[in-house]
């Protein structure tokens, strides 16, 4: 079931092999990741899908150096995750927007730029650029509470895009939003991906979302958290919303669903 032949010839941006992570808890060890092997090529849009506890968020956090694997190797941009984090190789979008309530939208987007020591003029230019990218121009001076949930999440995506990381890691960024807002944001995310050519790792619960967005879908299952299927999507990069009614789309969605079900049968 492991994807051993990378789809592109270039060296992978993210490469994990036989990755294991066990959390020691009061109830005994929890196997969050077991023998996870995966290569992600530059410019790919990879979705991680699976039920709660399948390790999809944990894997994203390992890439981001927010968790440390207990065994196996992983490289990000050819470095250890820690070195990649220190080199500011990725932007991370969390489940909640997590904007600072005491900063305006522009101030929030500036936060990473201030920490990374960009000049004032450069900060200003970048804030304008990324807010335009997420269609929030004109909201610079608003405070987060003045924006809707979807707009807040877009602002947090802008914050992750503000510095030049070529990897974007997104942990169920639209999980808390309603279906209609979600569709719109998914469309915008694809546009943004096409314009910026970033490599995106995307954790989700939703099969249609995963199939609609991804060039590669990683199906995971829990106890222990592991990869059960890796699907390279045959869908074109250009994807109107109604592609979701096409036979190809439905076929991939079906395969994802089968993969999820197979994972559960193992229990």
């Amino acid at each position: 079931m492991k994807d051993t032949k990378p789809s592109q010839t270039a060296a992978p941006v993210i490469s994990a092999s036989d990755l294991n992570l066990t959390f020691e808890t009061a109830d005994g060890p929890v196997h969050a990741l077991k023998d996870v092997t995966l290569d992600i090529a530059k410019g790919e849009f990879v979705s991680f899908i699976g039920p709660s506890g399948c390790g999809k968020t944990t894997f994203l956090r390992v890439i981001a150096d927010l968790e440390t694997p207990t065994a196996g190797t992983i490289s990000v941009n050819g470095m250890t995750p820690e070195a990649a984090r220190k080199a500011r190789a990725y932007g991370y979008v969390f489940q909640a927007a997590g904007l600072y309530p005491w900063r305006t939208i522009a101030g929030n987007v500036k936060l990473p730029l201030e920490i990374m020591g960009y000049s004032g003029a450069e900060q200003q230019a970048r804030v304008e650029k990324v807010l335009e990218l997420v269609e929030l121009s004109g909201f610079e001076r608003k405070f987060p509470w003045q924006l809707s949930g979807g707009m807040q999440q877009r602002a947090s995506i802008a914050r992750a895009l503000a510095f030049d990381a070529d990897i974007l890691l997104m942990d169920e960024p639209f999980g808390a939003l309603d279906e209609i807002v979600r569709d719109r944001l998914n469309e915008q995310l694809l546009e943004l991906w096409a314009r910026t050519e970033k490599t995106i790792g995307f954790v989700t619960h939703s099969i249609p979302e995963a199939v609609y967005l991804s060039t590669k879908i990683v199906v995971m299952s829990p106890r222990p958290g592991r990869i059960t299927d890796i699907i390279d999507s045959p869908l074109p990069r250009e994807r109107p919303l109604d592609i979701r009614d096409s036979p190809e789309f439905i076929e991939i969605a079906h395969r994802v669903r089968e993969g999820l079900r197979a994972g559960h049968l193992d229990d």
Partner: protein, 298 residues
């Protein structure tokens, strides 16, 4: 000022209760006086007398109000030693005594707040301090301030430190604690996600503090400063008692009780309460302005 009505109602009810209590509290003395003079006291005469005794057991509200007025505005404006006559505050006025107490309070509050914030920063950032400081801070507050205040005054006096500093230290002693407790809570207010976000930027400790922990702690800071300034005032007043201090609201309370001047005691009490309320209100105002500028007050 939506809540002005209810507040005034409560104040009116309290004053009414107070007046009701004045009659039975002071009746004994009025009747004794009348008996010695061989007079018979009518009810109206009794009530009038209980409201206007020079040394009542419980002074009537208007007596306290009049004393407050006389010992502030009247004393300073027209008094022989008042500021209008001599150019310096009269040592008989509550403005003078209030200022003596206030200066110690403010110095103690400033030191206490700075100490409290510093300790909280240490506790949040240093594991050894986290494990060791808080129990001591709590223990320090279990010692009755009345017991430790004279010791501090005596010890400092022995090394030649007198006047403002010992009082300020006792104020500090009471006011650092709420700030430590509030700020530890405030500096730990950011959740795991916000801290993870800072980690993804590989922000260092100072940046996490300046950009995340400190702003997050602001509402907690103001809440604890309000408690701290009231505690600082109590500390300063208590510090004035054991020294037989000649100045300050504490000294007024003490001399009032020596000479049975209940009206003086009550007016000093009210002066202290007004002082505390004004300072708490001032901090509340600074809080509102600050949080509004931070976009956190809606």
């Amino acid at each position: 000022m939506r809540n002005l009505g209810p507040v005034l109602t409560v104040v009116a009810a309290l004053i009414a209760l107070w007046y009701l209590a004045v009659v039975p509290m002071n009746a004994q003395w009025a009747q004794d006086q009348a008996r010695r003079a061989g007079q018979d006291l009518s009810f109206t005469a009794l009530v009038t007398d209980t409201m206007s005794q020079a040394r009542p057991r419980l002074p009537a509200p208007h007596q306290v109000a009049a004393e407050l007025w006389n010992s502030t505005v009247v004393e300073e404006m027209t008094g022989r030693r008042g500021v209008m006559t001599t150019g310096s505050l009269s040592n008989r006025s509550l403005i003078y005594h209030g200022w003596v107490t206030l200066s110690a309070t403010l110095l103690g509050f400033a030191i206490g707040s700075a100490l409290g914030i510093a300790l909280a920063i240490g506790i949040v950032h240093n594991r050894a301090m986290d494990a060791s400081v808080m129990p001591w801070a709590i223990a320090s507050q279990t010692i009755p301030i009345l017991a430790i205040a004279p010791m501090i005054i005596v010890v400092l006096n022995a090394v030649g430190i007198t006047g403002l500093i010992p009082k300020a230290i006792i104020s500090t002693y009471l006011s650092f604690f709420p700030v430590v407790v509030g700020m530890v809570k405030g500096l730990r207010a950011p959740d795991a996600m916000q801290l993870d976000l800072m980690k993804t930027y590989s922000a260092n400790g100072a940046e996490v503090f300046a950009k995340l922990r400190w702003p997050s702690a602001m509402p907690y800071l103001f809440a604890s400063l309000k408690v701290a300034i009231a505690a600082a005032l109590v500390g300063a007043i208590v510090a004035e008692l054991p020294t037989g201090a000649v100045a300050g609201l504490g000294a007024r309370l003490l001399s009032g009780s020596y000479y049975g001047q209940t009206v003086q005691i009550w007016s000093a009490l009210f002066a202290a309460a007004i002082l505390a309320a004004s300072m708490v209100a001032l901090i509340g105002l600074i809080q509102r302005v600050t949080l509004r500028r931070m976009g956190m007050a809606t």
